[in-house]
């Protein structure tokens, strides 16, 4: 091993401070795994807050969750799971050196990611449209159909949880009890929606980052940067994408299927 520093065998992508491509790949992979751990701890803080408040207000959670758009979120879950499949296939395509397949699969992944964000955006838009008094984002934009019963699920001054709906689902007595215990306290329903917007918002930010990463990798693939000997960025980019998926897999049941 007593070689001098600069004349060691070097592949096209081997950086100067590594000895072998294998060492470089192992370092990159370990680095990504360590980063994923920090991501889990980041979301861990929000999950902790979720646990604390769900423990404190179980009935309110039960009453609030049905007000989220579960069909759209289910569709989103499917979209995201399929995108994980395409990423896994892309890694395989890179491994066997099939450039056309790799680029196609990466582009499909990006498209699916964008679809997810689009659906998410519609979901948020619906909540904001309700606050503005319209039935849907489309109606809001065109000044169309008004919302029947006043409702505003965006946390803030205008927050208004529909009491009738809550009582129909058996949540009102608890809310009333909470009000009776601490008069003047606003409805803790807001906590649920605050956590919902924070957690899914943070997740959406990660999706944006993930799409950017995938676009860069797709660009590298188009410029023939990868070969069966070197495709580390595809692999660790894929790891990041899978993590985003896994976080959604936890967010979905926690918020929509309570």
């Amino acid at each position: 091993m007593a070689t001098t520093t600069h004349d060691h065998v070097s592949g096209p992508a081997l950086q100067h401070h590594y000895d072998t491509p294998g060492q470089q790949k192992e370092a990159a992979t370990l680095g990504m795994w360590a980063f994923l751990v920090t991501e889990i701890m980041l979301f861990g803080g929000i999950f902790m807050a979720y646990m604390v408040y769900r423990w404190a207000y179980p009935e309110i959670w039960a009453a609030a969750a049905p007000h989220l758009n579960t069909p759209l979120a289910t569709l989103n879950t499917v979209v995201l799971l399929v995108s994980s499949l395409t990423v896994a296939l892309a890694v395989h395509a890179a491994e066997v050196g099939n450039k056309r397949q790799l680029v196609t699969l990466l582009l499909v992944t990006i498209l699916l990611g964008a679809t997810f964000l689009g659906i998410k955006f519609t979901e948020y838009g619906e909540k904001f449209a309700h606050c503005a008094g319209y039935a849907s984002p489309l109606a809001w934009a065109t000044g169309g159909e008004r919302l029947g019963e006043a409702e505003c699920l965006v946390p803030g001054k205008g927050f208004l949880f529909p009491v009738a709906a809550a009582s129909a689902e058996g949540g009102a007595p608890a809310a009333a009890a909470a009000d009776a215990a601490q008069p003047g306290m606003k409805s803790p329903h807001q906590l649920f929606f605050f956590l919902y917007f924070c957690a899914t918002g943070l997740h959406a930010v990660h999706m944006v980052v993930g799409i950017t990463v995938m676009s860069v990798i797709a660009g590298m693939a188009i410029r023939n940067k990868f070969s069966p000997a070197y495709f580390t960025p595809v692999e660790i980019g894929g790891l990041y994408w899978h993590l985003i998926d896994i976080i959604w897999v936890f967010l979905f049941p926690l918020f929509y299927l309570v």
Partner: protein
């Protein structure tokens, strides 16, 4: 006599124009240059934090509030806390000494991710600029802990800007930790097994684990505070059923392990200093190595001891208190092993060794008072008094600060190729030690007698202690200025150090001083355990001794 030129090294520059020179530093990916960037910026922040501390101490000379208003005083101690914690203590040793030395000590050419390393520095500076902007535009008055609901609902100061600074700095910390972990795992020289690593590396490994696991949690906690403050809705708002104490849990889940981010690298430095200047392998090497890991793990289980008076249940207080006492075990393992290393060692009292010995004394006081404070009953008695302030300054300043200065002196010849002035070094080490004790020991006494922290007016009876403390802080300030002067002078007038001025066995001493850009001319191969001092090293020391040289 000694101004001959240094050999070409990492800091020599082929740039001919000023902008090319600037680029070669600001866009460098060389871990050594980045360490120098950190050294300069961290010391600037340290001086700023020190100035804020001097203002606080100056105000406290008299019992009345004559220098500042209460509001100004709040902003001043918050500035001191935020800068010292987030911009000096947490990045201090890892980013300067760790960055410079980890690749050298393990025989690598650079850290695993050099560009990420540069990004860390930019994030650090970005965070620093946010925090300084917050200070310039009126400061922040929440204390460095940003407790809710004060920080979210009531404070009329730049909370969001400061939080943004701490948040951004957090990512710098995470990336540094991630870089170190991967480097230590994957970049070691052939033959350098885990149990041949210097203890400095073990300590930094443990630190990095804490950095990547704990920092994201405070990031999300601070993010929630910022969201709540900006949009006036949030999870910590009691008006909608939220729980402000949840913030304290999330905050201390990071901020208690963060004190180990500060002290563990310091312990790594001390292990190196003690070994070199007593010419012995660290006694109980494996125990010292694993005690670092043990401290990192236990550190995650004790955050509740910051919250004994926060409505947390007495029973969880007892459990947290018990686990807190357990932290004393690995800490004591280190201290006993260092003293056992000194036993029958060939000790020389060079400047770094003076700092190391000072560290042991001050850390013992800081650590033992920590055990007092882990007891719920005692802690409730002295909660939010100067007793607590004195305790954590003994650990943070007496521990981390002493190790930082000792480490800077010890590796100065490696970093710059020149020796500092040994006589001034010894004098400043003693001045720091005396000034430190005069500043903080009276705080134990007045804290025990009931002087609360964060008050700018106080009863007459405490004045004598405050005057002593302020006098000590000015001595301490002089103790920091002296090294600044002679270290800078040594850059020009210092004797050439040679590759291995301390006759130490670590890999970092086998390359030239300062090291070339790629660290080692040939890939080093390790065949010995760490601290393998040759038996004749002590004899050579004795022969080289002459009247007037350090013992």
């Amino acid at each position: 006599m000694s101004t001959t030129a240094l050999p070409s090294n990492y800091s020599t520059n082929s740039a001919t124009t000023a902008s090319a020179w600037l680029k070669s530093w600001l866009l460098t990916v060389d871990h050594k240059r980045i360490a120098i960037l950190y050294l300069i910026s961290i010391n600037v922040f340290f001086l700023l934090g020190g100035m804020a501390a001097s203002m606080v101490r100056l105000e406290l000379v008299t019992p009345q509030g004559d220098l500042m208003s209460a509001d100004m005083y709040n902003r001043m101690f918050t500035l001191h806390g935020v800068i010292m914690v987030f911009f000096f203590l947490i990045p201090g040793i890892p980013s300067v000494l760790g960055n410079f030395l980890i690749p050298l000590m393990i025989g690598a050419r650079d850290l695993a991710f050099p560009k990420l390393n540069l990004l860390s520095w930019y994030l650090y500076m970005g965070g620093g600029i946010f925090a300084l902007c917050a200070a310039v535009f009126g400061g922040v008055d929440t204390g460095w802990t940003f407790y809710t609901p004060f920080s979210t609902s009531y404070s009329n100061s730049n909370v969001v800007l400061t939080i943004a600074g701490a948040f951004i700095m957090g990512f710098s910390s995470i990336l540094t930790g991630l870089n170190f972990i991967v480097t230590i795992h994957k970049m070691r020289a052939p033959g350098l097994t885990w149990f041949r690593l210097p203890l400095f590396i073990w300590a930094h490994y443990a630190t990095s684990l804490i950095q990547i696991l704990a920092t994201p949690v405070v990031a999300i906690a601070l993010l929630l505070v910022a969201v709540e403050r900006i949009w006036h809705v949030g999870v910590f708002d009691p008006a909608i059923g939220g729980d402000p104490v949840l913030y304290q849990h999330l905050f201390w889940f990071y901020s208690h392990p963060a004190v180990y981010i500060m002290i563990l690298p310091a312990m790594g430095v001390i292990s190196e200093l003690i070994a070199t200047f007593s010419r012995r392998r660290i006694f109980g090497y494996e125990f010292v190595a694993f005690s670092s890991i043990a401290i990192a793990i236990l550190g995650f289980l004790v955050w509740g001891h910051h919250m004994y008076v926060s409505s947390q249940s007495v029973y969880s207080g007892l459990v947290f208190g018990f686990i807190t006492m357990l932290v004393a075990i690995p800490s004591a393992i280190k201290v006993f092993n260092w003293t056992a290393t000194l036993y029958k060692g060939s000790i020389s009292y060079r400047t770094p060794m003076l700092y190391a010995l000072g560290f042991i004394g001050l850390f013992v006081i800081g650590g033992l008072t920590g055990i007092f404070l882990s007891v719920v009953a005692v802690d409730i008695h002295v909660t939010d008094t100067y007793f607590v302030v004195a305790h954590f300054h003994y650990v943070m300043v007496g521990g981390t600060m002493m190790a930082y200065l000792g480490g800077i002196h010890y590796w100065w010849p490696k970093m710059t190729g020149r020796m500092y002035n040994e006589a001034w070094g010894a004098i400043s080490a003693l001045v720091v030690f005396v000034g430190f004790n005069l500043t903080f020991f009276p705080q134990f006494v007045m804290g025990y007698l009931g002087m609360p922290r964060r008050y700018h007016v106080y009863p007459q009876e405490f004045q004598i202690y405050h005057v002593m403390s302020t006098a000590g802080s000015s001595i301490l300030g002089i103790g920091f200025i002296i090294p600044l002067v002679y270290l800078l002078l040594s850059l020009r007038y210092g004797k050439l150090a040679g590759d291995n001025p301390w006759d130490a066995p670590g890999l970092e001493w086998q390359t030239s001083s300062p090291p070339p850009t790629f660290n080692f001319a040939t890939q080093p191969i390790v065949t010995e355990e760490a601290y393998a001092f040759h038996p004749e090293a002590a004899i050579r020391d004795a022969e080289a001794w002459q009247p007037g040289s350090p013992l």
